[in-house]
Symmetry: C2
């Protein structure tokens, strides 16, 4: 049964959104819809124009025998700024203040829609970067790592604080946390990451960058390479940050426990050419 | 600028897929595309037919002043069976065997595409169930919880094994793990879940169901209600399971460490009327 253009457009849009950063041969679509490749090409032009118009992303066409089309999620600047504003508004609520000047963020990290947007913001920044895997430390970075991974179509690698029997043999490193200067441990299952990978590190919060520096050490142990660092919230602090290049969405400047005020700024996302 | 039908269909499909289980007023679309409501209705009919045809889900129309359209993700039986087969094939590989008869699953749990499919399988089963939140225990259930949550548009609540300063005040319970009969602890931040919620529990692995029973206790502490239980892999074992109603995708029947064989079966998903 031959498909009408309108039906093809709906299903094609769904399929492309489901498979970001994946090369889909035109023959896949022409067989699926029993339609000529020339019609499929016209359909893809409509999808591409609409995606670009509405800040969904873009289609990349690869020509030749092994050719096809690839959907690259790409948020436009306005939508990214709206996401950052939304995060700042949420994080600025004084009832998030916890003893010790910490901010309660579990609700944001548990919100699938906000996580999806955060994931797309970072996936947009790293759309042109070669990335094979996304690494985070359990527990709170996991939703962010998975949200980015879904938009980039790469696996997530989770570092733990302790070793578990279900991980098999592991590599353990010790590192000094940046702000508290305590010695901490990181454990990664040997089989969770092959060597030679280009890895994006992510976490929900970064102060002096000790956790990130620890993950960098782990990358070396696995003969892998740092491809970028993405943090949701970075905190201002007095010493130098232990990692150089990173992207952040929000900067926590000051917390006043007595007056219960939280001072936030935009992170360095746009400064660092995140988009 | 008025939009053409072809462009509307692409953007509308994208928007509906981005907002599952969310009521979208027709005026949203008619304003966004500068088009008459009658045209929007026709568009939605095309989207609905194509979604149903290809096992993407269905559109529910709510009439009246507060009316609109809602996208309900719904995988068809064939796609669910394919997902279960894929999981069984993956999990049956003998190099997953770890000392003690455990299976290495971190790579599956870190694969965003597989997690997305698993999430949609469970979201399909619970599409008609009233669910306000999805709860899991850190660490390995988190990707599954978020995958289901994204398709159901509800928040994720993460129970921890230990208390952390960034959680604020917490409720702690002790429970007896089902298989090892050890006393274990579960901690949930007080502000991470209001009372009166209907909660779906999920985890990557269930043996005697001790962890699930522990989460059930926590639900009671928070005056919340159990709405369902979804597990990726259940293990056969000799005593009764501590929870009654649950859905599983795969059943681990026997592991032979000497011969390095893994015997798997389908879980109870279809038996329990998962779809």
């Amino acid at each position: 049964m031959k498909w009408k253009r309108s039906e093809r457009l709906v299903d094609m849009t769904r399929h492309l959104l489901d498979c970001p950063h994946e090369l889909i041969p035109l023959t896949f679509f022409s067989e699926r819809y029993q339609s000529a490749k020339s019609s499929i090409s016209e359909d893809l032009t409509i999808v591409n124009e609409t995606f670009k118009e509405k800040g969904t992303g873009k289609l990349m066409t690869v020509t030749g025998a092994a050719g096809g089309v690839k959907f690259i999620p790409q948020m436009d600047e306005q939508a990214i700024r709206e996401t950052i504003s939304l995060l700042m508004e949420e994080l600025g609520q004084s009832d998030r203040l916890l003893p010790g000047g910490y901010l309660f963020m579990a609700d944001l990290l548990g919100n699938p829609k906000i996580m999806d947007r955060v994931g797309k913001v970072f996936a947009s920044a790293f759309a042109e970067t070669e990335i094979d895997a996304i690494m985070t430390v359990a527990t709170k970075g996991i939703p962010i790592a998975h949200a980015i991974a879904r938009h980039m179509n790469v696996p997530v690698v989770i570092v733990r604080r302790d070793s578990k029997v279900t991980e098999g043999s592991t590599v353990t490193i010790n590192y000094v946390s940046g702000s508290s200067r305590r010695i901490q441990t990181m454990v990664l299952s040997k089989r969770s990451m092959p060597s030679g990978q280009k890895v994006l590190l992510t976490d929900d919060f970064m102060k002096a960058g000790g956790t990130m520096a620890g993950m960098k050490n782990l990358l070396e142990e696995f003969d892998c390479e740092l491809a970028g660092i993405a943090v949701l919230v970075e905190a201002a602090h007095h010493t130098d940050v232990l990692v150089e290049e990173y992207l952040s969405l929000v900067k926590l400047c000051e917390v006043n426990e007595k007056d219960r005020t939280i001072e936030l700024n935009e992170g360095n996302y746009f400064l660092k050419g995140g988009n």
